[in-house]
């Protein structure tokens, strides 16, 4: 698997899109920091980028890579290599190279800005870690969709739909149900709803740093425990790990049964 990972990674690292992605983040970081000069504002803007754009790019890259490398995959399948190694290797290759573009692209301007001397470093590291998690999660989901759909157009459509659902529609439905059932205690419901959507989960994880004052304004005991202690942070991270693991296992299982 590591060999496949290595080759997929090198392949992507040399592709134009990785540079575009990398330069985009570099530019974003530079613009936010040096034209704006307000670190807190930069972190908030970055949060929006990370919870919306990173999943989208992970999804598109993942599905594109999967379909684009179909013939190459077939070449590999005829080699004495385990099937799961091929797909997991490709997946980790894509996800790792995307994460690298993100981390280096955003990291460089912040390092030059003198981030290490600033106390925003923790917020910023949290952003990058969350971004990397989201990349891994959505690339995995995209690979899964790719494996389940032979038809490229269909696969692409489903993947974008999944992103749209997680990024926007889910919250809409969530808000509607909160308003509709506002007479009932909704603490547990809300928390579970957040935990089952990786974008919301990442958002809340960052909120724990950025808006903790507001989050603590809510009176529910469950929220209090979640936001007020490290419990929330730890649980969120555990869920993110789970969100990476489940689609990865599914890739492994689907790839085992699939015909090419």
């Amino acid at each position: 698997m590591l060999k496949i990972l290595k080759y997929s990674f090198y392949d992507l690292m040399r592709s134009r899109w990785s540079y575009v992605y990398f330069l985009f983040y570099l530019l974003l970081g530079v613009v936010l920091l040096f034209l704006n000069n307000d670190l807190s504002k930069a972190v908030i803007t970055l949060m929006n980028v990370i919870i919306i754009l990173v999943p989208l790019i992970g999804t598109i890259f993942g599905i594109m890579y999967h379909y684009d490398s179909r013939e190459f995959t077939e070449l590999l399948l005829a080699q004495p290599i385990k099937r799961s190694s091929i797909f997991l290797g490709q997946y980790f290759g894509v996800a790792t190279s995307l994460s690298m573009s993100l981390i280096i692209g955003l990291g460089l301007p912040f390092v030059f800005y003198g981030l290490f001397n600033s106390n925003a470093i923790w917020d910023f590291s949290l952003l990058l870690i969350t971004g990397a998690f989201l990349t891994f999660i959505f690339t995995a989901l995209a690979f899964m969709i790719g494996l389940l759909n032979e038809n490229k157009i269909k696969g692409f459509g489903y993947a974008i739909l999944l992103w749209l659902f997680m990024a926007v529609i889910y919250d809409g439905i969530f808000l509607m149900s909160i308003l509709y059932f506002s007479d009932y205690p909704l603490d547990n419901f809300s928390l579970i709803a957040i935990l089952t959507n990786p974008i919301d989960l990442s958002r809340v994880l960052i909120l724990l740093k950025l808006d903790i004052s507001a989050l603590l304004g809510y009176t529910g005991a469950v929220f209090q425990r979640f936001f007020g202690t490290n419990f929330g942070l730890i649980l969120s991270f555990k869920m993110l790990v789970l969100w990476v693991l489940i689609p990865t296992v599914l890739i492994w299982r689907i790839s085992k049964k699939k015909d090419f």
Binding site: M47, V204, S213, A214, Y218
Partner: protein
């Protein structure tokens, strides 16, 4: 020249006579007078009692004449949990430089380390109060000074703790330079007017850093309120001036930097509200002026619960608050003008420093959060941004008259000294 010499001699004579009237009684373990009580018993009006270093196990000390009681090298008065320790019941008393510990606690009587009853011109300064229930309790007294005391309690809940500095039915008292921590209310005022509270530090108190009830014409400035259950509560009071204070990190479900409840004619200027769950909560308040304040990184900068008339919010900075303004009920005759809002996205084509597009500080989402508090968890979600944006374009739920016509483009630099 000769005349001058006479006057000088005369003055000296008068002074020395006075001096000879005012004796100094020294108290120490090996002195003739071994206890403060004994010293008070033999002292005359106007005398000075000088207490040498040591531990004095006394309680129920009643100062019933105008004495100056000075501790040298911070002697300790240990009340051994027997109840009130020092009670001042006369005019012109000065209590200076003691460490007073172990007040008894009781659920029926509010024991205090130092109590001032119906006295004038008292000075209580440089005390260190620990293991206390109430710290300095002033009732029906006037023209006193409470200076540079350090009160550190061990309060865990509101119900079995007292206040560090407590004023009841008192007037013209100055409270300056005190440091009060870990009690119920740092400073508490009830029916107390013309009080000046200046440069105190009030931290980690379980209820309020500073608490006004039914008190009028008071001033507090240059104080720091941090990490209290809530910073400052001003209730049922009139004409309170609040300047240059710092309200920091007052976090919690019902927590805020400043609570205003049924007050009127207050001026709130040049304060800093930093990282509070709510910067200011106000309820039924009239003619309040908020000017030159900084609201930075609060959950809600201002939470107006309605019934407020003629509020003026002018020239403040609203920076990185999760919500700038939230309100319930009707807003009447309020004016928002010339503030800086960090979430303002307008432009300034004529370069006069004022945005060309008015700013609406109330977001649809804050309205939603008021209705369904759980939805706070959707803060900064893309969906929320979308509905906030559409509300901004065509307001339906948020009041259209709540608007800042002259939002500043740059953060206003306030003088913070």
């Amino acid at each position: 020249m000769k005349k001058l010499t006479y006057i000088f001699i005369l003055g000296f004579l008068i002074l020395s006579v006075q001096y000879s009237w005012a004796n100094t009684i020294t108290v120490c373990g090996s002195c003739e007078t071994k206890s403060i009580k004994a010293a008070i018993a033999i002292a005359e009006e106007g005398d000075t009692i000088l207490v040498k270093p040591g531990v004095y196990k006394e309680s129920g000390i009643k100062v019933d004449k105008g004495l100056t009681i000075i501790g040298e090298g911070l002697p300790t008065i240990d009340g051994q949990d027997k109840g009130e320790i020092v009670t001042i019941g006369a005019d012109n008393v000065t209590l200076d430089g003691f460490k007073i510990i172990n007040v008894g606690s009781s659920y029926t009587t509010d024991y205090a380390s130092v109590r001032v009853v119906t006295s004038k011109n008292f000075v209580i300064q440089n005390l260190v109060l620990e293991k206390l229930f109430f710290g300095i309790y002033v009732q029906r007294s006037q023209h006193g000074k409470i200076l540079n005391n350090k009160v550190t309690g061990e309060a865990v809940s509101e119900f079995n703790s007292g206040n560090a500095i407590h004023l009841w039915h008192s007037k013209n008292i100055e409270i300056t330079g005190n440091d009060v921590r870990h009690v119920r209310d740092g400073i508490y005022l009830e029916f107390s007017d013309f009080i000046i509270i200046r440069s105190n530090i009030s931290k980690y108190n379980v209820r309020y850093g500073l608490h006004f009830m039914f008190s009028n014409d008071d001033l507090y400035e240059y104080n720091t309120f941090e990490g209290n259950g809530a910073g400052v509560a001003v209730m049922f009071s009139k004409r309170i001036d609040m300047h240059h204070n710092q309200f920091r990190k007052n976090w919690g479900t019902a927590s805020y930097g400043l609570l205003l409840k049924e007050i009127s004619d207050a001026k709130i200027t040049n304060n800093v509200f930093f990282e509070n769950t709510v910067g200011i909560t106000s309820e039924v308040c009239n003619r309040i002026e908020y000017k030159n304040n900084d609201f930075i990184s609060n959950g809600w900068a201002m939470n107006m619960k309605g019934g407020s008339y003629a509020t003026k919010v002018i020239n403040n900075n609203f920076i990185h608050n999760s919500f700038d303004i939230s309100y319930l009920g009707r807003m009447n005759d309020n004016k928002f003008d010339g503030n800086y809002w960090s979430t303002y996205t307008g432009y300034d084509l004529d370069k006069n420093g004022i945005g060309d597009v008015p700013y609406r500080p109330v977001k649809l989402f804050s309205y939603i959060v008021n209705k369904a508090p759980e939805s706070i968890i959707l803060l900064r979600s893309l969906f929320i941004d979308i509905i906030d944006f559409s509300e901004k374009v065509s307001p339906v739920f948020t009041p259209d008259d709540l608007i800042d016509e002259n939002p500043k483009i740059k953060r206003i630099e306030h003088d913070r000294n």
